[in-house]
């Protein structure tokens, strides 16, 4: 009897342990890969931070083909990983297909949008990139002496136009006569990782008079910042805080806290609240970076007006137009 009991107890413990192990979160990176120095890496950093702080562990996978999107979702779901966090808007479609088959599993799509009515077990995390961009646009206009500022996008997709549009609105808010030159690096995924071309575009914009350039172009942006530093003009980083890359040249960075989104989702675990989460200025999902590297580049007045604008945006007194709402931009022609 006692023997039986202890066996049963052992079995129960094992089952519990197995269950606990299986309730680990999983993270699926988009095709760019884990260490892309940008978006996916930010997600990895967020997950790592969660693992360090909680002592938990997570499973991750780098996709190598389109067909694997759905495959990875299903495989993780079948093994009971929960929640399953994905990066990149391309995952929204596969999640719509897979999520109904696993109602007990929570799925998170960062940058993708899945209808919460139809898919109650999915959390869509969207960022108000236009708001952060508006703030760095103001910084750019105030730092520019020529009255001409540049924007270098990665791949020409609505998301990047959203960045550009917010940026242009910020510039015009400070100086209605300012000129914004916006260029996209390309229209296929290689545009995310072409620093040489990024540098060339930057030089062309400098040639047209730009003295501040905002790069929203993933790996391509590194070439933009480098060229700006070489040519002695200001640049603005994106996603992560890139101020440290070229101190004295990087004016500031537009922050998009993908790492926080992943961290929050993993911390919430199985109890994750689904629906649509908009990460904006008010909940520090986007923002503008100020640190030791750039505090001397931003004047007190400039910072004051930026903070003022940020408060007004949060309060709804300033409305920054979202390009993706109607595929148009009042202050910029594409």
């Amino acid at each position: 009897m006692t023997v039986m009991k202890s066996i049963l107890g052992a079995a129960a413990t094992l089952a519990l342990a197995a269950g606990a192990a299986l309730a680990e979160p999983a993270l699926i990176y988009d095709l760019g890969g884990k260490f892309d120095k940008s978006f996916n890496e930010a997600a990895f950093n967020g997950a790592s931070r969660w693992a360090e702080e909680t002592g938990g562990s997570f499973r991750d996978i780098e996709l190598s083909s389109e067909a694997q999107r759905e495959q990875a979702l299903r495989r993780f779901a079948e093994q009971g990983f929960n929640p399953i966090v994905t990066t990149g808007f391309s995952m929204a479609g596969p999640i719509e297909t897979v999520a109904p088959d696993y109602p007990d599993i929570k799925f998170v799509t960062i940058d993708g949008y899945v209808d919460p009515e139809k898919h109650p077990n999915v959390l869509s995390v969207l960022f108000s990139e236009h708001e952060g961009s508006y703030l760095v646009g103001m910084a750019a206009a105030m730092a520019s002496k020529s009255g001409t500022v540049g924007f270098v996008g990665g791949m020409d997709i609505p998301l990047i136009r959203k960045f550009a549009c917010g940026y242009a609105q910020g510039v015009k808010a400070v100086n209605p006569d300012a000129k914004v030159i916006a260029n996209m690096t390309g229209s296929d995924p290689s545009a995310w990782n072409d620093p040489v071309k990024g540098g060339e575009i930057t030089k062309a914009q400098i040639g047209q008079g730009a003295d501040v350039v905002f790069a929203a172009a993933g790996g391509t942006g590194l070439g933009v910042l480098q060229t700006a530093a070489d040519e002695g003009i200001y640049s603005i980083g994106v996603d992560s805080n890139q101020n440290y890359l070229h101190p004295g040249s990087v004016l500031t960075s537009m922050l998009k806290r993908v790492d926080n989104a992943v961290y929050d989702a993993m911390t919430a675990g199985e109890g994750l609240e689904t629906g649509v989460a908009v990460k904006d200025l008010s909940n520090r999902g986007v923002g503008i970076a100020l640190d030791g590297y750039n505090e001397k580049l931003m004047s007190f007045e400039a910072l004051a007006s930026i903070y003022d604008a940020a408060a007004k945006i949060e309060a709804g007194e300033i409305e920054v137009h979202d390009y993706s709402a109607d595929d148009s931009c009042p202050d910029l022609q594409f």
Binding site: S64, E66, A67, Q71, D111, S187, D188, P189, D327
Partner: protein
């Protein structure tokens, strides 16, 4: 006299090549501190251990069947069509245009139209390099590879500016109408209770691919056109002597090749994604070259080689999922297989040939057989 029996040429050599590739891969896995035996187990159970695994393996196999056959047909005419990638890309465009043009009532109606569109688009993309090769002598390797880039750019333009629904981030077409949805293996085997092939992308296109194997076999060895293609491939001057027009054969062989590559889009675009995305071909056009080389350009060999690469793809995906072997290493394993079966074939072939000759001489010596044919 041939130096080796046929079974050695078609079976033993590829198997030895594979074995060496796997041993080397194992050493690489060992070197990064992982267990190669476990890795092989993961690959095998992941790719072949369940109907779900088979469903993915056969999905990839289908892609490689079409591109492998495409390369094979061109290769019988000694044309090195490395433009399968671009032709399949264009095939995808054809499928998307066909599927999105009408709200299809049933897949049985949509499939023939989409298949025709895929083949036509693929063939059209092969036609231009073929014409330049036949009429102007521009090397087909150069032109087809250039057309891969042009094809990618064209698709890009079409997706961003024409096919993409407004407001969508991703440069992809909208979803195809439900009537254009091909039955997957899960649907086909639904009578067993719906648990087989659950969620796997393998679909009815696999059977079209198998049919294509038979069709190519028949074409190459049982039609006058196949005879002309093979003659031209063996010797262009001899073909001219026999009254076979090099221009005509070059163009026709490339059209067939391009059509086969284009038809692959039925599998990945119509069968799996059910919409057109930017990078839908994902290198299958290039894998097709390895498949054709390994399959000795014979449809049955192509089938086996496609199956092998399907296994490598699905097994590789499982490796990424369940081990910390990085994605790049899975590509290394695939590359080793291509290297040994395609490029380094002679490295194994030569010693094996010598072995067979030695064995035959020993036998001849033993039997004191009649003197061999005089040297040529």
């Amino acid at each position: 006299m041939d130096t080796m029996p046929r079974w050695a040429d078609v079976a033993l050599i590829p198997l030895l090549n594979l074995l060496i590739a796997f041993v080397l891969s194992g050493l690489v896995i060992l070197a990064i501190g992982e267990n190669p035996i476990e890795a092989v187990e993961t690959m095998i159970t992941g790719a072949l251990g369940s109907t779900y695994g088979w469903g993915y393996t056969l999905y990839y196999t289908t892609n490689f069947l079409f591109t492998g056959l495409a390369v094979s047909v061109a290769f019988h005419a000694r044309l090195f069509n490395i433009g399968g990638e671009g032709q399949a890309t264009l095939g995808g465009l054809g499928v998307a245009l066909a599927c999105l043009s009408v709200n299809w009532p049933h897949w049985l109606v949509a499939l023939p139209v989409a298949l025709t569109a895929a083949a036509l688009f693929g063939a059209a993309w092969a036609l231009i390099p073929a014409y330049f090769q036949a009429k102007r002598g521009s090397h087909i390797v150069i032109t087809t590879i250039m057309f891969n880039f042009i094809g990618a750019a064209l698709l890009n333009y079409m997706l961003v500016n024409v096919l993409k629904p407004a407001g969508q981030m991703e440069p992809a077409s909208g979803n195809f109408p439900p009537g254009a949805s091909l039955p997957t293996f899960q649907d086909i085997f639904a009578f067993t209770g719906g648990t087989l092939f659950r969620g796997a992308p393998a679909n009815i296109t696999f059977f079209i691919g198998v049919a294509a194997c038979f069709l190519v076999w028949w074409l190459i060895w049982h039609t006058r056109l196949g005879y002309a293609i093979r003659s031209f491939g063996q010797s262009e001057p001899a073909a001219v002597y026999a009254g076979i027009s090099p221009v005509k054969i070059t163009v026709i062989a490339m059209l067939i090749s391009g059509a086969l590559a284009g038809a692959m889009a039925i599998n990945n675009v119509m069968g799996e994604a059910e919409r057109l995305v930017l990078n839908s071909v994902e290198g299958a056009g290039f894998i097709g070259i390895a498949v054709a080389l390994m399959g000795r350009s014979h449809p049955f060999g192509v089938f086996l080689a496609a199956l092998l690469f399907g296994f490598l793809y699905q097994g590789g995906a499982e490796l990424s999922l369940w081990t910390s072997i990085p994605r790049e290493l899975v590509i290394v394993v695939q590359a080793l297989v291509i290297l040994f079966t395609g490029a380094l074939d002679n490295m194994v072939r030569m010693p094996v040939e010598r072995m067979f000759i030695a064995a035959r001489l020993a036998r001849a010596e033993a039997k004191r057989a009649k003197p061999a044919e005089a040297a040529e």
